[in-house]
């Protein structure tokens, strides 16, 4: 097969098409409004003429001889009986009409000025900038002139009536005479315009003469872009464009008949207007002031402009974004036993998607084996392509046979197998980590499986999320995927230079439970914990108990750390004491790792979590991504075993607090209510001290809010005192696995104030929020303070207020997603062409320099740590041969 040399389109020139050119490129004139004859065959010189291309299978195009699918389609044309205005240019035409002489068509400016303007426009164009401002100045200047400098004709005012009527107003002795300008009149004026004048008004006379804005010939789009569909009943349903063209041809014919018959001027004008209407809606069916043309069912027709516009239009829907082959989509589910860069692919998908192998002497045996296995035996082949380019489907029956025929130069479309590189994606694709390259692992069942540690970059969870997979089809693409998009090369986010892949939820609880305990782990348990890892030897046991050696949990964790790792940091559970005791921390919150051994401290979100994980960050930056990858794999597996060792669950009992605590909480809430009442009393007595810059009402609201939030916090504290570190929810909140102490407070102690737009709930009935309260009641419970906890249950009024607050949250999210989506689209569109050059500058496609040095220092945000003082210190320390002062 001959490989065509890739051609590159260098440029695209835009312009208007002249009537002459329309006729030249047209393959046929269209004169009948009918489409098919009684036999269902396209009528010659009709709208479906086979010269315009074919859509019915079996027919051949009369112009190029191609079948449906091969023939791209060809334009035809309609000769309009009278010229009509192109709506898109109606506004421009108005400006031009006002700027040129009604008699000689000259632009009403001095020749010298014209030259100046042309010069300006040329310079602007050369610099790649828009000449819009100059052109609008030209129009403004030219309009001022009352008489033509060239022929002395007095100019008249031109009124424009939307969408496309121009009326000339002649004033004689204070009486206004109006007469309508027909498109023919306008065209005559425009024809008289010189090329130089056209250039002054920003046109390119070689590609766009002003008179071409008035249509005398209408191009008929090829059939291929307006295919008709055959309904089940055998009836044909035509495309919207065809419908519109039928209308145009009908009116055109009637117009011609009437004119030839010498119909009165009034009727002619009416028909002319009707023709104008149909041509207008053919081009754009949403022009303001024009009733949209409708389908019989009442649906507005989708004509040319509507096809291009908007998200689903040609530009955004079909050209900038395309549908692809070699892709799959299904629900995702977690599997911590996969490596983070793997993806579990259902066998059904693996059998369907293929990779094309070019058969060479080196892989011919392999290729034959795949062919032999056929499409049903998993790593098989679905098609083979012979040297002459014919595709042959591999079946159970012909597999063996075909395998023998396979020879060098053939291609075999083999099924996906373990280790193949694919792209994995979850929408919305907000950043580049939303599409990463994974290695395939073919698994049973019907879902994609992934390690939960890669959820953060995709922002995925398993509540029914679906993800897409794409199979790169050539070596170049696969290489690029493997080098640039592989998960292990995307552990660090370019947004903030930290890890975005890391443990979540149970990974963190698991490691926390494991490393925070003082358990003595016997040999069996130690081996069980480390079973899934590639650890073949246990370290020296710490001691012996009852004659059996035992290990500490920190030792176990150290097994998955690489040697040579030295770090110290404060864990997430750090209580941020005023005076940090460092190594002597009584909460075991100060982590010390020396030479890959966890000497003390608890492993939690700060160590291995996504976004925060210090160990992951270190391993990726100072070791290699592979080591970091391995660590995350091991950590996820170890954590699952760690959590299973202890067992971890959360139920309603975990929200139980003793009666004495409950009464304390009630007391706090009671006293808060009293304080609020006091504030209200002070307000009513006019004794409340006004905050500077606030009204007295605002002051009261702020004081009440402050008081109530204080009360909620202190109830939380009381509850927190009674729920110790043995409580699952506390463990999750403190270790950073999931939830916060606030969530726990709401569950166990008090839900707190419900707010709308940051204020207490004020809306509802006149003077009160609900009929349950007195008018003018300013108290806590009347404005949305929920005293109950989720566990105790909310009272009806509280429940209602809670629903109000909850609804606001939902609306908020819905609004935010659309707004931030648009923000991102704008940002990307504005900045997508920027590229770092070899000289370190950032330039756009015009080669304009945006930054002389990227980020002022040329440092990759992914490695932005280097610009911090610690980096310098680390280098110096390592040279000076000491780890720490």
């Amino acid at each position: 097969m001959v490989v065509a040399t890739p051609k590159r389109i260098k440029q695209i020139k835009f312009g208007l098409i002249s009537p002459k050119e329309y006729r030249k490129m047209s393959v046929t004139r269209v004169i009948t409004a009918d489409t098919y004859d009684d036999d269902g065959f396209p009528i010659d010189m009709g709208l479906m003429d086979t010269k315009l291309g074919v859509i019915d299978p079996g027919l051949r195009c009369k112009t190029c001889g191609g079948r449906a699918g091969e023939c791209p389609g060809h334009f035809g044309h309609i000769e309009l009986v009278a010229p009509v205005i192109h709506v898109g240019f109606a506004k421009l035409l108005r400006k031009i009409l006002r700027a040129i002489c009604r008699e000689c068509g000259a632009l009403l400016l001095d020749p010298k000025k014209k030259e100046e303007y042309i010069e300006q426009i040329r310079i602007l164009r050369k610099m790649g900038q828009s000449a819009e401002d100059v052109v609008s100045e030209v129009f403004k200047e030219a309009r001022k002139s009352g008489t033509c400098q060239y022929c002395g004709e007095a100019q008249q005012d031109i009124k424009f009536e939307k969408p496309s009527a121009y009326i000339e107003v002649d004033e004689v002795d204070g009486i206004k005479y109006e007469h309508k300008l027909m498109p023919t009149d306008i065209r005559t004026r425009l024809e008289k315009m010189s090329d130089v004048d056209a250039e002054v008004i920003g046109m390119d006379p070689n590609n766009a003469r002003p008179e071409w804005m008035i249509l005398t010939v209408l191009p008929v789009p090829p059939v291929t872009m307006r295919p008709s569909i055959t309904l089940e009943s055998g009836q044909r349903s035509e495309d919207d464009l065809t419908h519109k063209l039928v209308d145009i041809i009908r009116i055109n014919q009637r117009f011609q008949e009437n004119r030839e018959a010498g119909a009165p001027q009034l009727i002619i004008e009416d028909l002319w207007e009707l023709l104008q209407y149909h041509v207008t809606t053919f081009i754009d069916n949403a022009v303001s002031g024009v009733p949209p043309a409708r389908h019989r069912s009442g649906r507005p027709l989708k004509t040319l402009s509507q096809r291009l516009k908007g998200k689903e239009g040609r530009f955004r829907g079909s050209l900038s974004g395309k549908r692809v082959n070699f892709s799959a989509r299904t629900v995702i589910s977690p599997d911590p036993n996969l490596r983070i860069f793997e993806v579990g692919v259902p066998e059904a998908i693996a059998k369907e998607l293929t990779i094309t192998m070019n058969v060479t002497p080196r892989n011919i045996e392999e290729a034959r084996e795949y062919t032999r296995r056929g499409p049903e035996n998993h790593p098989g082949a679905n098609y083979v392509i012979r040297a002459d380019g014919r595709r042959v489907k591999v079946t159970e029956i012909n597999g063996e046979e075909l395998a023998e025929l396979v020879e060098i130069g053939w291609k075999v479309e083999r099924q996906l197998k373990d280790g193949d590189i694919v792209l994995f994606n979850r929408q919305p694709s907000l950043h580049r980590m939303s599409i990463m390259a994974h290695e395939i692992k073919v698994l049973p069942h019907k879902t994609f499986r992934l390690n939960p540690a890669v959820c953060p970059p995709y922002n995925a969870d398993f509540d029914g999320d679906e993800m897409n997979m794409h199979v790169p089809q050539n070596e170049e693409a696969r290489a690029e995927a493997k080098i640039l998009m592989h998960v292990k090369n995307n552990i660090l986010s370019p947004r903030f230079g930290g890890p975005i892949i890391g443990g979540i939820h149970d990974h963190i609880s698991g490691l926390f439970l494991l490393t925070n305990s003082k358990d003595k782990i016997n040999k069996n348990d130690a081996l069980e914990l480390l079973a899934k890892m590639e650890i073949r030897e246990l370290p020296e046991p710490v001691g012996k108990e009852n004659g059996a050696p035992y290990w500490t949990s920190k030792q176990i964790f150290s097994q998955i750390l690489p040697g040579g790792l030295d770090i110290e940091f404060k864990a997430e559970i750090c209580e941020k004491c005023d005076q940090c005791k460092g190594v002597d921390c009584e909460h075991d919150a100060y982590v010390v790792i020396k030479d890959g051994v966890l000497e003390q401290g608890t492993i939690d979100e700060k160590a291995v979590g996504a976004f925060k994980g210090i160990i992951i960050d270190k391993l990726t930056k100072e070791f290699t991504p592979d080591i970091a990858c391995k660590f995350i794999d091991d950590a996820t597996r170890l954590s699952i075993r760690g959590i299973m060792r202890k067992g971890f669950s959360f139920g309603i009992d975990d929200e139980y607090i003793p009666d004495e605590a409950q009464s304390q909480i009630n007391e706090v809430l009671e006293s808060a209510s009293d304080k609020v009442e006091k504030l209200i009393a002070a307000y009513k007595a006019g004794e409340l001290e006004q905050l500077p810059g606030r009204t007295i009402d605002e002051t009261l609201e702020m004081e009440i809010m402050k008081e109530l939030s204080k009360a909620r916090d202190s109830t939380g504290e009381i509850a927190g005192r009674h729920l110790g570190m043995e409580n699952s929810a506390v463990i999750m909140a403190r270790s950073g696995a999931r939830g916060s102490m606030l969530n726990l407070t709401q569950m166990a102690a008090c839900v707190g104030q419900q707010a709308v737009r940051g204020e207490r709930i004020q809306r509802g009935y006149a003077g009160r929020t609900l009929p349950h309260f007195d008018k003018g009641d300013l108290g806590a419970s009347a404005h949305g303070f929920v005293k109950s906890s989720y566990k105790n249950g909310l009272s009806p009024t509280e429940y209602f207020f809670h629903a109000i607050g909850g609804r606001e949250g939902l609306v908020d999210t819905a609004v935010r997603t659309s707004q931030s989506g648009y923000l991102q689209r704008r940002l990307v569109n504005a900045m997508q062409d920027l590229e770092v050059q070899y000289d370190g500058t950032v330039r756009d496609t015009r080669n304009m320099i945006i930054q002389f040095k990227y980020g002022e220092d040329g440092i990759d945000p992914m490695n932005s740590d280097f610009s911090k003082p610690e980096a310098a210190k680390r280098i110096i320390d390592s040279v000076m041969g000491k780890v720490k002062e």
Partner: protein, 381 residues
Amino acid sequence: MSLSEKTIEETVSTLPLPDKIISNLSNELKKTRVTKKQLDEVIERALAAYENSRIPPCEAAGVVSAQSIGEPGTQMTMRTFHYAGVAEINVTLGLPRLIEIVDARKNPSTPMMTIFLEKEYAFDRDKARELAWKIEATYINSLGNTSTDITEMKIIIELNKKALNQRNIEVEELAGKIEEELGIPVSSSGTTLTMGPEEPSYRQLLQLGKQLRTVTLKGIKGIKRVVIRKEESGEYVLYTEGSELKQVLGIDGVDNTRTRTNNVNEIFEVMGIEAGRAALIHEATETLNEQGLTVDIRHLMLVADIMSVDGEVKSIGRHGISGEKASVLARAAFEVTVSHLLDSGIAGDVDELRGVTENVIVGQPIRLGTGNVRLISKKAT
């Protein structure tokens, strides 16, 4: 045999490293006793580390920055108002504020100034207060009660002595100011001001009353409120609702080097494009940090740079950068598709197909990143 600080400084400062790294290095080195040999090794490692952390050529820095700012947008709160620094002043925050910044709005929804004072004012509460009154726009309503006498066709203002003293305004001064602004004679007796329209007409009287309320008697029009706050350093700082940078900078006692506004366009107009760029970066960083989101400053710099590269602050979007792109196809693919196509036809525009969207549309490799790299092979001889 350690080196002196001076030699360290000299050797380090000539290194081909960014300024910030050089200062980091020399600061750290000065703390240690480093020998010549060790210094050489430090330098060698620093250079190697810099080489490693450089941004690779052909990186699509623009898209990365756009995504890095856009992605956290989904996590931001919508809550428009919150109190920034001072409890008394509401400021737009979160996503709406970020949108406002990249839109380069001429009038942000909540303009606000932070006015720092010069030393002799900054630590003196009374002097600071005095300045605050000079800045805050004062209207007649805050000075006394206005009543309309219909029988006499007069407007009578009962001034509040305390308010006048507080703001340091004399009755005569006030009368003069009103006279000047409204162009009618004002008679004063004690703390009472009386005035009436030139022609005794009911309508004019009402109109006069209306006008009177809008006269800025003292301070800067546009600054609705000033709040004084004592910072932890003991310094008094003024926070204002409303922003008039140019006029505020003209007031004696205002520290022109630190005073700022959150209106980026105002900073650009008063102090030029570089200050405008810095303000963009500052405002965007603040907005993101307030939400607890970490975004590398280089991304914000790039956005600020593309917004200010032409010498004026341009918005991101149809009316700014995206609308001025050279490529017709890129513009058509963004927004207002049809009119871009029609206009380009008229002007005979040529699309050079250099950018990303254009090449995606015509279906050929983009000239960015790996699409911008070509292999050159040497002929075997």
